[in-house]
Point group: C2
Chain length 110, copies 2
DNA sequence: TTGATACATGAACAGTTATTCATATTTTCA
DNA sequence: TGAAAATATGAATAACTGTTCATGTATCAA
């Protein structure tokens, strides 16, 4: 056998780096404001002001959270005049959202 | 039409309560220690001391995090003598873990 | 250019949370 | 019963995070 660490990446083995990134990734979904924004963007792109109005949040709060989501490449901006439209930037986001949602609804169901 | 709030639960509509619970739920995955514990338990039940040893964590840290996961019904304990074996308590946990993992690996892939 | 609109950002504050250390509880075995 | 092993818990601390408030930047229209 070989005890080189390169060989260690067998099936089901996940490096600590990946586990760290994974927890960092889930953190983005672990905030009410962000999850509400993500949920809203699931149905298409929305401007910053519209997000704030529809979610009844201050514009500053929305901008701050959008910056976090944008830095993480979860949302992407598009400028149109003075407005900024944000939309989800990753195909996985909806999947993860719905997987969690299914869990919650299933739990409430019984 | 009927404006009773009961009728409001149309497709794609999620109440703020559920969105709040959803974010609370994702928080459990948003910590490195907990995600490492969850990952370890994916392959079966493990005792507290074994978790601490395999993850190189203090026993106290593991117990504290296990309590959080236990309170949230994400893990369940089983006593055997003086040992406590913990295992995942919900079929969805592995699914959510893997959905996130797929995202991370896919992101690193390109 | 000036004013107004839309958005971004920085600093400060408050609330939350994970870890550490000490100690308590539970079970087994001599 | 007493000691040891395995785990749980409480309090304190330090670090992190979201919101607020004030202000800065960019774009358009007159």
């Amino acid at each position: 056998m070989n005890n080189c660490s390169c060989i260690k990446n067998v099936k089901n083995e996940v490096s600590m780096d990946v586990l760290f990134e994974l927890s960092e990734f889930f953190k983005f979904f672990g905030d009410t404001t962000r999850i509400r924004i993500i949920h809203l963007l699931l149905s298409g792109e929305v401007s910053v002001n519209d997000i704030a109005e529809k979610l009844n949040l201050e514009q500053s709060v929305v901008s701050h959270q959008l910056r976090i989501l944008r830095t993480a490449n979860l949302v992407k901006p598009r400028r149109d005049g003075r407005k900024m439209f944000y939309s989800l930037d990753d195909e996985h986001i909806g999947l993860i959202f719905n997987t969690g949602l299914t869990h919650i609804l299933h739990k409430k169901g019984k």
